[in-house]
Subunit: 304 residues, 4 copies
């Protein structure tokens, strides 16, 4: 398969369609990103990199980092984790608090904000220096010292963090939060502020396409069966309340971020990261999703 | 792969675990089924059949028939269908009406009751003799005159049909229902009353494992890409509000019915049907799900 | 108290404010009413009538008739009624079905549509000729053969009745509906189609201002304590999801209808009916509410 | 009217019925109160006090203090207040956060927790020493230096305050919270920890029965029309999701607290406070409500 040609073709076709959305504007650091940025990087199971456009440029990966954190925490707690967070699609917006109330403090899944806060709380319970260790972990599986935490983004997130703080206190009221809220939020906002390039991001997802083994870290990151489970979770819950649509149109497990990035995997084939800042009304990158749809159509395969 | 051996092993292990649930009791015809029935049938892409237990015995496939109807309607309307029904997981029970109100008459997906009613309404718009033609279609893709519609089940469904009737009128109030309600409900309850054996059911799902081509009908049932889309829908929405859990534990696209059946596919490998009447509290067959979980664990593959 | 002068003053001031809303447009018979109609009639406890504007003209009282039906049914069933319908404000729109689902088929109160359907069902259980007997009852307490049921309105209601039909089937699925749905809906739509003038309507509410005794019927309609209870219900639930606002601004028990009418009582003083077709977004008559607010302000009394 | 005789009769009858409920147990200071305490105090418009049982003993008035705070804030902001908080009954439990989400940060009314937090926030915006000034205000309108803030209760409330903290952050995320959250919560928990006797509490409500004029403070506390509005609010929203039931059975404006107290008024007649710690499942005092119901039945009047 000539992935380089394929990616360039996809890149070209998406650019020609001139799709527009709206850059997220809740913090200035995201709002001010050049909306025309667009990059694609694909990494096959041997570690070959194929790229197009701005694929080497760092961007704010935001919620995509929830997959990295979940991986560390899943490794540490295994199935015990699922008493604190469910694995069902949400159907509600990512930051909804109503569902959490109806379901008595057990978030629907680890990728909505409430669930990610529980995961970060679990991270803080198990790791002494959670931010440093998370950074180190991502660097390891990306095979490069690539992770930067943008301090301005982190501070802006913090200053707009009332809703996440509310979720944390609400979780605590249901006894589903164990560490000091301030500490956990510090970690949470730091992980949201991670900047990476498409190529490094795709590399960091490689183990999920490879039955849990990272060719960059040269070790088994998760058991084969737990790696599969993270893929299942991404497929059913990785795109907020548009997860069904993404499965339907694209058919790959993946995770999006409000910075316009999407990371996805085709199991036993490749991992891929796409970035374009303009979002649709569900908060997913318009061009990134289109690129992945074209890609699976051209490849004539998806999961299904 | 020695599928026969595999299936017998799974059958044996599930039997030894002695899992219990509760047979659905809303109609006598379902309530009175022997709770100890248990069958598995797997059909590979060449049409070889592997079976264990009561796999040749007919049972009420109930909601599994929604996949057959959807296939006919999807073929007839293609993408126009998706203006009337969404493709997102529901998160609510299968017969919930609240979500339909919040979302102004557009059901979340074609497998919750409201969505299935829209699909059946669409069937009635396109096919002159919907029940006869649906029966014929299933027979064709199962490669056998196997479908029976149990008249007692149908009448019982009808007599307990107030909630579905309410959903139909509610859809009509949102102009998302085109045919006379009585007529559509007649078809709907008939399709719920279809009885098939595991082996025939697995055969009828074979085209979904085979890029849309049925080796039994010897024709392309759906385009490769639309067959994939039905698989995606089954994965994200096929098990009511337990779809995430099923994806997480089993990782195959599938559809369950309140009669205790589950039909599923492993794309490019096989289709499979399992039946055991006792259900968990979400309405899915306890043993059938366990059997599929064991199977994918033993095979060491799933979608992911 | 010079009620005639007071009412004319109120009438004049409201006219000068030139408040506008939107005439209900779901059926042509309501949509085509002259939007400039405006009438007020006040009836004191001696039966003296004071009126202004179009107070002698008949209009479609719509949901106001729910008070008359409730009165008959409350008399017949007394406290047994409250196992089938609650007495709490709804907070949701009048035709919401979601709440009914969450609360397992027990409507919040007798004035939302679901509750009114239960009341009408109870009417049909107790009265042989429910429409004729309801008409007769209203004529009796209004002291005049005044009630007309507009057949065009009734038929239009029926033709737009899918949502109410859905509610009825939904209630039946919860075993909170005893009579054939068609029959009950016939009565329901008939009662919605009642036409009365402000003066007759005010007279028919007189017993609620008079501890249950009607000076027109010359008999005790309800016990003093049950009459009080209907007033309490009107205060907390009589104006859909604007009941709190009406209590806050006006402070009288009352009931509004989508035809633009409002009937209200000041206990131990008077009953009153106001009519003006243009509605605010909550479905209550803009001018009628304003008129009642001015009235209680000028009188310097309300319930409180 | 021989109020003393009446109250003693009511007291006796309630005691004989031996109604039981459950003392609130979320904080030890409330949980450990003697469940057999029971007191009634009625104050007429001349300031005569009539009492029975433990009516001179202090208890934790909890949410009843929300009426005092609202009075101060309503006086300070007048109608501007209602852009920040609505006046509709809630239908949901007092500490629900879901409704706040659906209604974009505008609480349903000033008596549910979210609304009371907005009111306390407004208090902090207008008053330099909110706790001291609130205390002073209640003392003034009760005609006595009677208010104590129980420091143990306050600290316990604080230690169980995650849910209220979540509500405050959630309000802040909707820009409906202006002061530092810690500061406002300090005031909020202090006001919940106010201890008063029935007699002092009834006196402090006297102005609401008297068109806004306090005979104890010897001044107009609120305009006649605003006093009426607070009564309307208490009637529609004063008893959590049991407000309709209370209006239906008792028919007086009032406010309950989780400590088992209820304060109510009969406009132009009297104010009354009742206390008994055991609560029904909606969180309202079983005996207190029964006592008020008997009282209005015996008096043969209520609002209606």
């Amino acid at each position: 398969m000539d992935y380089q040609h394929l990616i360039e073709e996809v890149y070209q076709e998406v650019q020609e369609e001139n799709l527009r959305g709206k850059v997220a504007d809740y913090i200035p650091e995201i709002a001010n990103v050049d909306p025309n940025k667009f990059g694609i990087a694909l990494v096959d199971l041997k570690g070959n990199v194929f790229g197009a456009g701005d694929y080497k440029e760092q961007f704010s990966i935001q919620s995509i980092s929830k997959v990295h954190t979940l991986t560390m925490v899943f490794k540490a707690f295994d199935t015990k984790l699922w008493s604190r967070v469910n694995v069902e699609p949400s159907g509600d917006p990512f930051n909804s608090i109503a569902q959490l109330e109806y379901e008595k403090g057990i978030p629907r899944n680890p990728f909505i904000n409430a669930g990610a806060l529980v995961i970060t709380d679990a991270l803080c319970s198990k790791f002494e220096k959670p931010i440093a260790q998370l950074t180190e972990f991502i660097n390891e599986i990306a095979g490069d010292t690539c992770v930067k935490i943008n301090p301005d983004v982190k501070n802006s997130e913090k200053n707009h963090g009332e809703r996440n703080t509310a979720l944390a206190y609400f979780l605590k009221s249901f006894k589903n939060f164990n560490n000091p809220i301030e500490e956990v939020l510090e970690v949470y906002f730091s992980q949201c502020a991670i900047a990476m390039s498409c190529v490094d991001l795709a590399k960091s997802f490689s183990f999920l396409a490879n039955d849990g083994y990272s060719i960059f870290a040269e070790r088994q990151i998760l058991s084969e069966s737990n790696a599969r489970r993270i893929n299942a979770l991404m497929l059913t819950c990785g795109f907020y309340d548009e997860a069904g649509e993404f499965a339907f149109r694209v058919g790959l497990p993946g995770k999006s971020g409000v910075g316009g990035g999407v990371a996805a995997v085709m199991p036993h084939k490749f991992s891929i990261a796409v970035w374009s800042p303009e979002l649709n009304e569900k908060g997913n990158s318009v061009k990134s999703i289109k690129a992945l749809e074209l890609l699976t159509n051209k490849l004539e395969f998806s999961l299904f």
